[in-house]
Symmetry: C2
Subunit: 254 residues, 2 copies
DNA sequence: AAGTGGTCTAGACCACGGG
DNA sequence: CCGTGGTCTAGACCACTTG
């Protein structure tokens, strides 16, 4: 009977709006109004193309828009499914904590997976950010963080090897980076600069985060400093824009 | 002679990557490597389709990707043009300043255009955010901010009418909102909550900001409080993701 | 084997901008 | 008028999932 419902959908081909846009809106409204449960499968693109009286590429593009809004998820060979809208509230600027610590406090279950860890030369770009020389060694760390079992962000971190001998032997999956730095090396982070922008995933990050290439990310770049003003870590985190909200509270300083 | 350069481009149709993706990357690299100046017109889609040996819709989709990355801008009837990459560094969390004040300090020339200003009833959503009753009156203000002449973000602000009688008569184009609140009403903002997310523009906002609907925005929602803990303003700002970087510095508090 | 989405083609018509 | 991008069609082949 499900098909009967969808079959009522239609668009006005006379309107000056693109058909794919009208179809996208029609589907969106239909899903909202009828409160289509998440994980419901949409009719096939073939079927929809008949309903709306357009070609399949047009339907494909319409659904593409819904996917970019994270309303649906496509699975090759299976179909298109309504997504449950989840957002993880996320505190990060309030106090000077690493993202891992911030997550811990929130009480949500989260896991860390180390994608890669190695020692490399800084190179000109990283060296400039960290006020090192390009040939200096740094520890490179790439971690994937999942919340409630779902991938939410990846972080790439660079730390000066000189300051943290043996760092690669630490267990980054079960302890937060900041706590390792403070407890194992006695170097606490006392200041951090952060830069935030919108970005797009690389093919690798899209795979890790299980998102399409078209979905925007929130990029958070950070430089952490120790008490003597030297750089302790340079990091770049990429968050799924559909799963994360960053929040903070600011008070008058004077 | 420009055509000669572009004509060298090609892709490997045997690769397992979509053609539109390969073409997009090829064009991107070509623009970067040859430092194609901004405002240069790309070859027509027709021409490119011949060069790459694919159909025009495929070229169209490839260029679509570049547009979403804000590398090019399409103009109907004219062509596709390379965009100058401009980013406005933007301090926002450091201290408790309004966005207007933050801009002023940055030294960049900026203008404010009032799109709309009126008194309305709060409604349930706004009332909840501002701890008002749905039927309470609020002043609604929608402003477009331009930096160096280009639209960069829109802000919608709601303020409780009761606290600020005659507010609509103020000149919001030449003074910042916070300074009006403090100097005209003696109510300074001492605390603010901020929530940040990625969003997509409404058709109206896309027009105001001169961006395609596909381009993501940074949304900054804020609630400002006065000394007695009451809500002074609720605002929602939407920034062009390709023009803005938000930055902050955090210190250890304890 | 059948059904799904991913992608592509060759051609088409339109609206817009500029000569 | 012509060249541009915006959009659409009808059909196709592929890779993947499921029965």
């Amino acid at each position: 009977m499900a098909k009967l419902e969808w079959s009522q959908l239609s668009i006005d081909k006379g309107k000056p709006l693109p058909r794919y846009y009208q179809i996208s809106k029609a589907l969106e409204k239909f899903i909202e109004k009828n409160r289509i449960p998440s994980e419901t499968r949409l009719p096939s693109e073939e079927y929809l193309s008949k309903i709306f009286g357009v070609s399949r590429p047009t339907i494909n593009k319409a659904i593409q828009l819904l996917m970019e809004k994270s309303l649906v998820r496509k699975e090759r060979g299976k179909g298109t499914f309504v997504i449950e809208k989840k957002v993880v509230p996320f505190v990060f600027m309030q106090d000077l904590t690493s993202l891992g610590e911030s997550l811990k406090k929130s009480g949500l279950s989260f896991t860390t997976k180390v994608i890669e860890s190695k020692e490399i030369r800084a190179g000109s770009t990283i060296a400039r950010e960290m006020t090192l020389k390009p040939r200096d060694l740094v520890v490179y760390l790439k971690r994937l963080r999942c919340i409630e079992g779902e991938p939410v962000f990846v972080t790439e971190t660079y730390l000066p090897s000189k300051k943290f001998p043996g760092l690669l032997k630490q267990d980054f999956a079960s302890r937060t980076l900041y706590s390792i730095l403070e407890e194992e090396y006695g170097i606490p982070v006392v200041k951090a600069k952060r830069i935030l922008r919108v970005g797009r995933p690389s093919t690798e990050d899209a795979t890790l985060l299980k998102i399409p290439l078209s979905q925007p990310l929130i990029e958070l770049e950070g430089i952490a400093y120790s008490g003597d003003g030297s750089v302790v870590a340079y990091s770049k985190s990429k968050f799924r824009g559909d799963r994360v909200v960053l929040s903070s509270t600011v008070f008058k300083t004077q």
